[in-house]
């Protein structure tokens, strides 16, 4: 082993774990990935079912496109992807019309949409947003919906923001943190939605290849029982079955809760208490197919008139590679209210979605993430801003680094993983 290179064990192969492992492997560290499941990629991959690319979570998309953090991560590890950035990024479906919504700042919004949401002039809006950001960073955060009202947003405007925060942060606008939202948008430099034309699973395969060609080893069906900590330093892991692997660095990508469980008595009590108060995000993703074309546009559709469905991605309009040629394919996201009966919400959402997409549409799969499942992300909520998301480096344990969707970071949806990875990589390169 070259001097200064540490043996690295990556626990869990979600997007954050794979990216970080591949990054370290390319920099000459010997890396071993341990995945409990039989497939790698966690919530950022897809399963091929009869030719349909059914995602395990994320919708084959980089929310920040080529300006975002994930794209920068891939550049750093030399993985090539083809992204399609639909213009406009979003289509708002309201009263039978489709109104374009541009997420980049170079395009101005259509007058019809501006009138609908009540946000008219850019100058005052920018000033208000800046004031909210500064106030929030000083500890006076407010819900995103309240922020929208302050800049003159109408009820339709608040409803649109609500759909967007549910889609991007997994929280309703009344609970979403305005600072979290603003910082996330700023940190990814107003990137616009990018769609992985060959699907998320193909990208995961490429990251794996990049890691393996740099000497990394990937083991699936290898659940980790505990992380070995000696003298305040992570020394390795013990795999289910008794084998132990020594490591200089342990990268944990198994979800914060499960990682704390693996640490046992070494888990810092402050972080355990902090994590116990966090609310995980929950929601449904519906995979819809039809023999008829489902959408006439390429953008994410936000159906403002529907009550339960937050956004629909017209997958087959963006890529021919993710479903059989004779079919059309779309993915819909539905936020789940944890206070209400999931079954009833699901039924209502499915009914509404099928009605919206017209005859011929059928739901072929609905995936649900809920409760304290280790892979469920932590919602970016008003009372959780900053202080509550656990840090990437746990206090009192050296050589252990947390990556994934539930550690501290900024960015919408999966971009948060990229942002926290980039920050961690900088620290690791200095170490």
């Amino acid at each position: 082993m070259a001097s200064g290179k540490r043996r690295v064990v990556v626990v869990g192969t979600g997007l954050g774990g794979l990216l970080t492992g591949a990054f370290l492997a390319r920099r000459g560290h010997p890396v071993t990935f341990l995945e409990a499941q039989s497939i790698i990629g966690g919530r950022f991959t897809h399963i091929d079912y009869q030719g349909f690319a059914i995602p395990t979570g994320a919708f084959h998309a980089f929310p920040g496109g080529v300006r975002g953090h994930l794209f920068r991560c891939l550049c750093k590890i030399g993985v090539h992807v083809s992204l399609v950035e639909p213009a406009p990024s979003v289509m708002v479906a309201v009263d039978g019309q489709r109104l374009p919504l541009h997420l980049d700042m170079t395009r101005s919004q259509s007058p019809v949409l501006r009138r609908l949401v009540g946000v008219n002039r850019r100058g005052p809006v920018t000033r208000s947003a800046a004031r909210m950001l500064i106030a929030g960073l000083m500890g006076r955060d407010l819900p995103a919906a309240e922020g929208m009202r302050r800049i003159g947003g109408t009820e339709a405007g608040v409803r649109l923001l609500d759909r967007l925060t549910k889609f991007a942060l997994s929280v309703p606008a009344e609970e979403a943190s305005a600072v979290e939202l603003l910082r996330s948008i700023l940190s990814q430099r107003f990137g616009r939605e990018g769609f992985l034309i060959h699907g998320s699973g193909s990208m995961i395969g490429r990251i794996r290849t990049a890691a393996e060609s740099s000497g990394a080893e990937v083991r699936t069906a290898a659940p980790v029982r505990r992380i070995i900590v000696e003298g305040g330093h992570a020394r390795g892991v013990e795999v289910e079955g008794g084998e132990s692997l020594d490591a200089g660095w342990v990268i944990a990508n198994a979800g914060v809760r499960r990682t704390l469980g693996m640490l046992g008595e070494h888990a810092p009590s402050r972080v355990v208490e902090q994590v116990a108060t966090l609310r995980p995000a929950c929601g449904f993703t519906h995979a819809v197919r039809s023999r008829n074309r489902l959408h006439e546009h390429l953008s994410i559709e936000i159906p403002l008139d529907l009550r339960h469905i937050d956004g629909i991605m017209p997958v087959s309009n963006l890529s021919r590679f993710l479903c059989p040629p004779e079919w059309h394919f779309a993915l819909a996201y539905q936020w789940m209210d944890p206070a209400e009966d999931p079954e009833k919400q699901l039924e209502a959402g499915r009914r509404e979605l099928l009605e919206h997409l017209g005859s011929g549409a059928e739901i072929m799969n609905t995936a649900c993430y809920h409760s304290h499942n280790p892979t469920a992300n932590i919602a970016q909520m008003i009372d959780q801003h900053g202080k509550s998301r656990p840090p990437a480096i746990l206090p009192g344990i050296e050589g252990l680094f947390l990556v994934g969707h539930d550690v501290q970071g900024y960015g919408t949806a999966a971009e948060l993983i990229g942002e926290s990875c980039l920050r961690l990589w900088e620290r690791l390169e200095r170490a």
């Binding site: 496109g65 080529v66 794209f71 891939l74 550049c75 030399g78 993985v79 090539h80 992807v81 083809s82 992204l83 399609v84 950035e85 639909p86 213009a87 406009p88 990018g194 769609f195 034309i197 074309r293 006439e296 546009h297 390429l298 953008s299 309009n317 963006l318 890529s319 021919r320 590679f321």
Partner: protein, 76 residues
């Protein structure tokens, strides 16, 4: 180091078509199409509108200016 590429979709109003009389079948458009929706049929290239993401790349790549956007209705 490989970086990746991004294509802006939806820039054209409708999927473009190939003017057969100008097409030499050089396949430049086929090679540039990120959606893989251009095929060579016989000696000519043809755009399959169902898969078109309307990025306009083929339009700019064609050395014979054989590809143009038509003002017809969107594909069914």
């Amino acid at each position: 180091m490989a970086a990746g590429e991004a294509v802006r979709a939806g820039l054209l109003e409708h999927p473009p078509t190939v003017r057969a009389e100008l097409c030499t079948g050089c396949t430049q458009c086929l090679l540039t199409c990120p959606a893989g929706t251009i095929e060579r049929r016989g000696l000519k290239c043809e755009i399959i509108p169902e898969g078109c993401i309307r990025c306009g790349r083929c339009l700019t790549m064609c050395p014979n200016e054989a590809i143009r956007e038509v003002n017809g209705p969107a594909p069914p």
